[in-house]
Amino acid sequence: MFNKLINDSASKSPWLYHINSGSCNGCDIELVACLTPRYDAERFGFKLAGTPRHADIVVVSGPVTSQSKERLIRTLAQVPEPKCVVSLGSCPKSGNVFKGSYSVEAPLDDYCHVDVSVAGCTPKPEAIMEGLYKAALILKEKREAMHK
């Protein structure tokens, strides 16, 4: 009924779900730093959600260790459409310094389509905000595509 409104609001209230697949917590702290008063991601409606069911944007940090790979795939499957995946920092995209180790199955792209990747070994909160904002816009396109 209110399709135009629904499509618009898809980009205006993106809820994040953060998966830590073996990260050194550098990126995790930076992500949470975005919600602090200084950077305040909540201005754009970003909110950390507790379960993948409530999530729109899944933020993955860490070099996809073999332990967390299976759980990562299952959790990503449980997120309802339309969804975006944002890789935080260099680890998810390439495994960073841990590349080639026995327990790292790094590039996240093998397991899901990464919409936005934010580079930086601990990217700055502004960069994360920029990445999330871009992901929110992608969400809107996905919602319109899904709606047609």
């Binding site: 209110f2 759980r71 990562l72 959790t75 499957a77 449980q78 709606h147």
Partner: protein, 636 residues
């Protein structure tokens, strides 16, 4: 011709019991037909009485062997069916008919069914007789038969765990109660030289001598034991749990109602003690204590039926509190709650029986996720659970609504703060009832299905039919309350308060005036109740509005895969990414916060329920002593 119906019904049931014992002990066909025939005819006879008694307001009085009273003295045994008796008779008849239908398939697997149906018909006949008799000793004999039948039925499945023990305790406490009643009756007879209730109440108008006060206290204690108020409630909790479910449904629907009927008859009509505020206070305190202890014990239970048993005790507490108030609104609320309790508690026991029949256990920690396997039972259970916790569209809400109004109006009129406390306790108990039924819902019906219960099927139709009937009644009584009030509750309340009419009908006109009996003047029940029909339209309209909002958004809906297949992770339950494993949260690990805060209270309470027969007997004697002492102080 209408005169003979009450006795005919009772005699028919006893005759049925006798025939079942002779013809049906080995042939199932004959046995079932006789039992159901007797039950149905009794039902029809009692329902036929509604027109004359309830609508025309006439009281049926019937003298056994036509021994009418000679020169003002009642000689024979008289049956007197006024609106109050008929109200309870209807409850009794409906309950045992439904239990009969239910037990057709529920008891099929048991053996010795010949004895079962004999006892079942004896129990029904005795309670029906108790409710309709006008003679006090006849009432005592009916109580005895009721106690025997219930003890035998409790211990029916004697190979199960704990049945013999429950039966023995029930017998000990029950027969102590009956002995008190018998002593009371003896003292009454010593004073009034008659056994007819109407004549006794007429003679007692002049004043209460010490013997009559002692008799009054003992009879009240005796009926207290029969209606399982707190100090006497322990055998009930055990008996309901171990008895076959169709029997525990009769217990909670009929047997404790008989106790309540006895209390009303004694308090209001025979001794007319309810105009004294101190007696009212005593009864209300007993009711409130029963309410509170019943529900707190229920919260700590691990067994489905034992939880329901403690809830019956707490709901009877509601009824006793409402009746103890002495106001017309209180009696209406109490009677309506008794009726509703029979309906939703019967329904809940039937669902418990269905769960027992399908899975073989009622242990809350071993069950879970049955709503997928037994959807119909789950719906009936939810209706029962919501009506017992008093959620608006159902009948529990209306009667609790009346009870709160009654207690708080009483508190304001008499300015007595205790009634305000009782209102608060009643409301808190209602929330705790809701809590314990949420616990059962999560532990038995929702939550996850354990592996060994994979093969459970829905129960056969003949068990479902009574459930549907009762849930329909639950909903209808809630919504069409004004009709129920006009035809059932109003006449019953009038009958309770209008003692002179009761005496005149029985002993011939003018008798009451001659003896100087007068009624308790009570303000008529005045309240307006929001029109349920509007309520219904409200509900439907908004339901449609909400539905539009949901479907309007054209959201695609994930399907539910059949549970057999390896689940696509998208539809698997979220276990923080783990593979789905069985971890049922239910039964004893709910309400953790509440239990830790009340640890001290629960340690004491569970200590008191020690399970030793002599302790229970001790309490019975102690409580009777308390009642007697209070009566002597109050009735002076």
């Amino acid at each position: 011709m209408i005169q003979h119906f009450p006795v005919l019904a009772v005699m028919l049931l006893f005759l049925g019991a006798f025939c079942v014992e002779i013809f049906g002990s080995n042939n199932a066909g004959i046995r079932n037909t006789i039992a159901m025939l007797a039950a149905t005819i009794a039902l029809v006879l009692i329902y036929a009485l509604i027109k004359p008694v309830m609508i025309d307001g006439e009281i049926i009085s019937y003298w056994m062997g036509n021994w009418a009273p000679v020169s003002g003295y009642a000689i024979g045994i008289g049956y007197e069916v006024d609106a109050l008796s008929l109200f309870f008779a209807l409850l009794v008849v409906t309950t045992f008919w439904l239990s009969g239908v239910y037990s057709m398939s529920y008891m099929a697997k048991d053996h010795h069914l010949g004895h079962y149906y004999t006892l079942y018909l004896m129990l029904s006949g005795s309670v029906l007789g108790l409710v309709m008799t006008g003679d006090i000793f006849n009432m005592f004999v009916m109580i005895e038969i009721m106690t025997f039948a219930s003890v035998a039925l409790t211990a029916f499945r004697n190979e199960n765990e704990g049945t013999l023990e429950a039966g023995f305790k029930y017998l000990v406490i029950g027969s102590m109660g009956s002995s008190f009643t018998l002593t009371g009756i003896a003292l009454i007879y010593g004073q009034c030289h008659t056994l007819n209730m109407a004549q006794i109440s007429a003679q007692l108008c002049t004043g209460m001598t010490p013997t009559t006060i002692m008799a009054f206290a003992l009879i009240v204690a005796g009926f207290g034991v029969k209606s399982y108020i707190v100090p006497f409630h322990t055998p009930a909790a055990d008996a309901y749990m171990v008895a076959p479910t169709s029997v525990s449904m009769i217990f909670s629907g009929m047997v404790n109602k008989a106790g309540v009927y006895g209390m009303i008859r004694v308090l209001y009509i025979i001794f007319r003690a309810m105009d004294k505020s101190s007696v009212q206070m005593l009864v209300v305190i007993f009711g409130a204590v029963t309410m509170f202890i019943g529900v707190t014990m229920a919260l700590a239970q691990h067994d489905f039926k034992r939880l329901l048993a403690f809830h019956s005790i707490s709901q009877i507490g509601y009824v006793i509190t409402a009746i103890g108030l002495g106001t017309a609104l209180g009696i209406t609320g109490g009677l309506f709650h008794a009726m509703n309790h029979t309906l939703f508690k019967g329904l809940l026991f039937l669902t418990a029986g269905a769960v027992l029949y399908a899975t073989g256990t009622t242990n809350l920690d071993k069950l879970g996720g049955l709503s997928k396997k037994m959807p119909k039972t789950c719906i009936c259970f939810l209706i029962g659970a919501f009506s017992i916790s008093g959620l608006p569209p159902f009948n529990g809400f209306v009667s609790k609504w009346l009870v709160y109004q009654a207690t708080y109006t009483k508190a304001v009129e008499t300015g007595n703060f205790v009634y305000a406390i009782v209102t608060v306790v009643a409301l808190i108990v209602s929330v705790m009832t809701l809590a314990s039924f949420i616990k059962v819902t999560q532990a038995v019906f929702f939550g996850q299905l354990p592996a060994e219960l994979k093969k459970t099927q829905e129960v056969p139709a003949s068990m479902l039919v009574p459930m549907y009937l009762m849930s329909a009644l639950c909903v209808l009584c809630g919504i069409f309350y004004p009709i129920v009030n006009k035809y059932l509750l109003h006449p019953a309340t009038e009958a309770t308060l209008n003692v002179t009419n009761y005496i005149d009908k029985m002993m011939g006109d003018g008798y009451a005036a001659m003896m100087g009996a007068q009624n308790i003047e009570v303000a008529p029940v005045q309240f307006s109740y929001w029109n349920p029909i509007v309520w219904l339209i409200l509900f439907v309209i908004i339901f449609v509005a909400a539905f539009l909002v949901i479907t309007g958004s054209k959201s695609s809906r994930g399907q539910v895969l059949n549970p057999g297949v390896k689940y696509d992770p998208k539809y698997a339950t979220f276990f923080s990414g783990e593979e789905e494993l069985f971890s049922q949260v239910g039964g004893s690990d709910l309400f953790w916060g509440f239990k830790t805060d009340w640890k001290g209270y629960y340690k004491v309470l569970e200590g008191l329920h020690s399970g030793i027969v002599t302790d229970y007997a001790g309490w019975t004697v102690m409580a009777t002593a308390i009642i007697t002492v209070c009566m002597f102080i109050f009735m002076r």
